[in-house]
């Protein structure tokens, strides 16, 4: 059953169409990522669920209850903001307790639940600290805790990890995934980072120009993108026109060397240059009028002839012909 359902949602601001007839079902307990380039409408979609972006048309339902007409405070969707939006005039404990206070939870019960949440976040020693004294990762966890403390039916995450450095981001990514699995909470997350989406989500909603292009599990999305633009967004960097179609593949899945391998696609060309990419060499080849990139075990001298071989399973075929440029 869909925990959250968007039906023909459109949002127009003046002449601009931010969202265009978007329909989406988010299954209960799933971790769904909205992925797309900046300006594709993914953040607006998330904000429309929270009630911060009024709809021009369509409906949003949680379970079988329509929430499209409700003000944000009555939607029961808990959001984690990109800036965390922790209240600087309250300390950590007060930030966590405020949503409970708004729900009329008694003082004793509030203290108990805040302590339990801090324990779960491994931040029990931070209860009395001002927000300004926390590190980025700690702020992120407190923001998550503040959202989860009300046991919301839907958790909304707006690029929650984008302000953190790479190491903390990896740790928190794992933590976030574990927490979501354990609580079984329906989660909708916005990200522009495909690696994040692929590793976190059970379902990815790929968006472009205010529309949903593809909804798929990470592996399907990665291996069978719906169209050429999607493929390019997902790191497919080689395009070979063939008849009226285009063959596309990732350089990481192609091989370059002095000899051709047994493969679905083989082309001979001349080496433009070789750069070391850690563990292997990234080799650029001029093949007829095309420029293709593939990985090789060894560096090849510029100007020498070489073969590029792409295995069948790495090849994607797109019917509408488009230029690589």
């Amino acid at each position: 059953m869909a925990a959250l359902e968007l039906e023909n949602v459109s949002i127009r601001i003046g002449q601009a169409r931010i969202l265009n007839d978007v329909s989406l079902q988010v299954p209960a307990g799933s971790f769904t990522c909205l992925l797309g380039p900046s300006g594709c409408g993914k953040t607006t979609l998330l904000r429309s669920v929270a009630g911060f972006a009024p709809l021009s048309a369509g409906d949003i339902r949680i379970g079988d209850r329509s929430i499209a007409g409700l003000p944000p405070e009555r939607r029961e969707t808990a959001m984690v903001f990109q800036s965390y939006a922790l209240w600087p005039h309250m300390n950590v404990g007060e930030n966590l307790a405020y949503p409970l206070k708004l729900r009329g939870v008694s003082r004793g019960e509030r203290e108990r639940r805040v302590a339990a949440m801090l324990e779960r976040l491994d931040l029990a020693h931070c209860a009395k600290r001002p927000i300004g004294a926390l590190s980025g990762g700690q702020r992120q966890r407190i923001a998550l805790g503040r959202a989860l403390i009300i046991d919301p039916p839907i958790l909304l995450l707006d690029e929650p990890l984008s302000n953190l450095d790479a190491a903390i981001r990896r740790t928190l990514r794992t933590e976030l995934r574990d927490l979501q699995r354990r609580l079984g909470i329906t989660t909708l997350m916005v990200t522009h980072d495909q690696e994040e989406a692929l590793s976190l989500a059970d379902r990815i909603v790929l968006m472009r120009d205010g529309r949903i292009i593809q909804v798929a599990d990470p592996e399907t999305l990665y291996t069978a993108p719906a169209d050429l633009d999607t493929a390019r967004f997902l790191g497919v960097d080689n395009l070979v026109p063939e008849g009226g179609a285009t063959l596309a593949f990732r350089s990481t899945q192609a091989h370059a060397g002095p000899r051709a391998l047994h493969a679905g696609l083989r082309r001979q060309g001349r080496v433009i240059d070789s750069t070391y990419a850690g563990g292997a060499w990234r080799i650029r080849l001029a093949v007829a009028e095309l420029e293709l990139t593939a990985m090789g075990e060894a560096s090849l001298a510029a100007g020498t002839p070489a073969w590029i071989s792409v295995p069948d399973h790495a090849l994607m075929r797109f019917d509408a012909h488009r230029d690589a440029a």
């Binding site: 911060f52 003000p71 808990a78 939006a85 005039h89 949503p99």
Partner: protein, 274 residues
Amino acid sequence: MTLLRLPARLLGGLMLPLLLGLTAFVVFGPLINLAMWAFTEQWFFPNRFPSQWGFAFWERVFRPRAGAWEALYHSVTVALAAVALSLALAIPAAYALARLALPLRSLIMLVFLLPQAFPNLPIFVNIAAMFYGLGLNGTLFGVVLVHSLPGLVYAVWIATAAFSAVDRSLEEAARNLGAGPLRTFLGVTLPQALPGLIAASIFVFLDSIDEFTGTYFVGTPDITTLPILMFNASMGGNYQIAAITALILLVPSVGFMLIIERFLKADVLARIGR
């Protein structure tokens, strides 16, 4: 090289104390003169200093019938009421302005400043004429209204800046987690804007304590504030009384700032500029 640089450095080293001294003289010179007048009993023209010092005039000022106590009471009451009225009007107005799109906001704020651009004498004369018709002349309420006019401009400008600086997502987080619009304003927006609002009330208070022209046209002779008392004394040649009144005028101003400082921790005040 170092020898050549020495005079320049010496000059540079002297410049700062010299400038500081000059500034101090410009700022504090008149104040010293004023302080001397406050404790003078006799001071005739060619003398550089008073020939006789004493507290005789202090006693005269604070005599029950002299009106200094009443003037002090009026000044403080009017200033507090002007702060209350200006902020009560400025807070909703500034919040609305802060949430407006920028070009429109700038325009409205500029229009708001317009009355301040006029010479204020004709404005006060006209206000006095209007108040006369309304029966507000010579009442404390009338004086409070007149003081709130410039006060409101300060308050709206500073409060708008304070509200604009409040991160929108802080309010959204409160709404998202269950607070209605009013609760969000009181629980999140207002505490965030508080340093700015405090700054605004200090401005309004100090401006009101000092205000003369409006009080003169609307309040006198029924309402006497300290500046009016000072003016009357100066016009009558009572420089001692004028000087003593001026010193008394410092008391509520410094007191108000001390109270504010007590209530606010330094870190809150430090955020005013942000």
